[in-house]
Symmetry: C2
Subunit: 490 residues, 2 copies
């Protein structure tokens, strides 16, 4: 640790996230391994750059020759992926540095996280090589996922190539791959994701600073187990949160959690109370788990950057209205009752009896025509207090109608019409429409419903309508928006 501090080294993040020539050091020709795994992943996801494979034993992998040493690579490389045994890592890293690599990700574990003297020393050697001029991600990590360049985390051959506004920094590789997959499922798109594991060199502070200025990134998310330098971290957080929303999932806030952190990435945890206070102070959004983080990121990525405090809730089924009202209150959202004249106008177009137009609006049955729902939303938006509208769609009920009609449910459920209408409503009223798509039908006999709901989600999202699975999740996500932008504007 006697070298110059890494912050004085100029880091070429462009060559790290968008490399044209990369080396994979430590591919095995026999059986599965991290090196051959990442090669397979890069090929499958369609990385367009040149890939050089390295293993002293030589041979070929999927028709690509394996070079005996990094030194044998013709010309310079931008980035390296290192998957050799821990003991061989420092030398491999040094060879990559000499080949001109701006950075390297080290998948190998067996470093500081072991808690052994050998692991600690090996990690120190990695840091020493890094200080000579190559930025290191890891060790004990899954690396970088960057949809634009086609770099992907180790277990991510099938992640999306579509870029989007959300960046993710993670001390956990498992969390990174789970978030990337969850994001793909719910329509969340990423700019850059970095699983940095032990964070021997590049870690939260520098990466945060980079993302703060990164034009591709509009929302920053983090999974943090512990930070190397608390003061620098909170400074970086504060600076970041002034520019864009920062969502933090801090793991290890319980006693047992802190113990688990220790053996996972050898970080120091910190008390629940202190973290909460610090995150609040820098106007970061704190979430408790991966689903909540995904949903918050979705809301920040898709909704306008402002708080929404008074909302309307529309849905098929009175209990849903009741549930909406109950769930909204803890998040500081109110569902103001409409004035009687407006109620009458809404009632006039809803099916009777059974419906209720007071806000929440109960549209009484799941098969109300999309055109009618559009009119109801347009009317509800006339209440000047309403800032955002939530529509709880019971599309799964079309399964019964489809069965009676002898048609596939995906052809019967009117999600295309709904998406077009809701988009128009949002545009004409200037008030976002949020859709909740609960699906109680998801067993083996309802895989067709699962597919239809996935199609509906994609269609709504393509029309700029954000979709959540459960009402409670939508309200919580909007609550996060209010906390972040509410603090800002006050």
């Amino acid at each position: 640790m006697n070298d110059m501090p890494s912050s004085t080294v100029t880091t070429d993040f462009e060559r790290i996230f968008h490399p044209r020539r990369i080396a994979i050091v430590g591919v095995s020709t026999r059986g599965p391994g991290f090196g051959s795994g990442i090669f397979h992943s890069l090929r499958t996801i369609g990385f367009e750059g040149e890939i050089f494979l390295v293993n002293p034993k030589g041979g070929t992998l999927d028709g690509v020759p394996i070079l005996p040493s990094v030194a044998d690579i013709p010309g310079a490389i931008d980035f390296a992926i290192i998957a050799v045994q821990a003991r061989a890592v420092p030398e491999a890293l040094e060879l990559c540095r000499r080949k001109g690599a701006a950075g390297a990700e080290i998948f190998s574990s067996g470093f500081k996280e072991l808690g052994t003297e050998e692991g600690r020393l090996l990690e120190q050697q990695v840091v020493q090589v890094a200080r000579r001029g190559i930025r290191v991600i890891g060790p004990n990590c899954f690396g970088i996922y960057c949809p634009a360049s086609g770099l992907t985390v180790l277990p991510g051959p099938d992640l999306s190539r579509e870029s989007g506004p959300v960046a993710f920094l993670s001390q956990s590789g498992g969390m990174a791959i789970d978030f990337a997959n969850t994001g793909k499922s719910i329509g969340l798109r990423f700019s850059k994701m970095v699983s940095f594991g032990n964070g021997a060199d590049l870690r939260e502070v520098e990466l945060l600073r980079y993302l703060t200025d990164d034009a591709e990134t509009g929302v920053i998310t983090l999974y943090i187990e512990g930070v190397a330098d608390g003061a620098a971290f909170f400074d970086a957080m504060r600076a970041a949160a002034r520019r864009k929303p920062v969502i933090v999932y801090k793991g290890g806030l319980s006693n047992a959690g802190a113990r688990a952190v220790q053996s996972h990435t050898a970080s120091m945890g910190g008390s629940r109370r202190i973290w909460r206070a610090m995150l609040r102070q820098v106007n970061a959004v704190q979430v408790r788990d991966l689903p909540e983080m995904s949903q918050a990121a979705l809301a920040f990525a898709m909704l306008p950057p402002r708080p929404f405090r008074r909302i309307s809730v529309l849905g098929g089924g009175g209990a849903l209205g009741v549930a909406a009202a109950d769930a909204a209150e803890p998040f500081g959202l109110t569902i103001p009752a409409f004035d009687p004249p407006l109620v009458e106008r809404i009632e006039a177009i809803l099916p009777r009896p059974g419906s209720s137009a007071g806000n929440p609006v109960d549209v009484a049955n799941p098969f109300v025509a999309p055109e009618v729902l559009k009119e109801v939303l347009l009317l509800a938006a006339e209440d000047p207090r309403i800032e955002l509208q939530i529509f709880i769609s019971l599309l799964s009920h079309y399964k019964n109608m489809a069965r009676m009609m002898g048609l596939p449910v995906k052809e019967v459920a009117p999600y295309r019409d709904l998406a077009a209408h809701f988009q128009e409503v949002a545009r004409r009223t200037g008030k976002p429409v949020v859709v909740v798509l609960p699906n109680p039908r998801r067993g083996l006999d309802h895989l067709d419903v699962v597919e239809m709901i996935a199609l509906a989600r994609r269609t709504f999202m393509a029309h700029g309508i954000v979709v959540f699975d459960e009402l409670h999740e939508a309200l919580r996500a909007i609550g996060h928006l209010n906390v972040h932008y509410g603090r800002k504007t006050v």
Copy 2:
């Protein structure tokens, strides 16, 4: 309301829940309607009794003749389903009573929930007929679902015919069908479900008393918006909770929620604080929404009737261990660290490096062999403090392995072996094994993973291993067990 109180009428619940001869009053031969809808549902689910259809216009429906009047039905009936217009309901009900029906469910709305004088009077007339000797479910409801007899709620043609221990009483029809579908998806089986809507006659108190003694029912769940007689309700709750777990979802505890309740089932709500205190006092379990209710019911239905305070958590991925620890604490669950000798024995069989054996146990990668996982669980169970084990399975990761092998993921993911091993572990150790099956892969390109996870869930459940989607949900459900049985045993 001047007739004798209904409690002095002997109610033949057997003939209501298991009718042999039923009438559907108000079938329409033209287009969809509640009457023809329920006929279709009963046929589809395979109700084995005789069904008589009634409509003054006569005709046939699906080859079944429609009788002009209830009086034309040959012989007595056990039960009636009434779907005529509100104004025609009292007379239809009276005719059913004269035909000897023990009960009737009234789908029609247009009664007290309208808030009009006409609606109130019509509901009073229904009550008057009921007092003469026919028990009424509804009006403004979806009726009864009883898998054993094949009676089903209106929108439930495809509900399960498998009976199980969970009963549900609901003021909301939508909640009933959603819970029935959710239950089918997650492997929860029902004894009886009653959507009683306005509850003009039979409602929470009498039904609770019936279920308390019902041998088919082991767990009682309720969705309540408001009760007719608070003191009687809490007496019935107390008596029920002494015999079996009672799980209550009280809707309308917020201001806006109470307003929504008023227009939904015309019930009076009640304050959040009072309900919480009352439910605690009678040792009922309070939940906040349908997912939480489903998960709590699953835990009570499948886990032994006792608290579980100290648990082990095993999973693939260190962050999952961290997350487990963090999530356990708020529910009063502890994850005690194993003693060093046990840690060493577990470490000896886990893949190295990357794993961690302290509890939470991080098995380091998602592809550890089922036999090894069995051994780890057997070892962990040796810690005498551990009362229950949670295994977080990352089966969705087998998608990548399946792709490389060119096989369907459902053939590659080893859920059958895992289920058999976990069942053996639970049997040999006497400590339940709970499985969490998170699935971040659920978009259109991962429908095969969704199917595999559904197959895995069914297989685990068939081996007596209870499955939850998310760790947080499993912990919360176990927390409910602890609250209920903890109070009981203290």
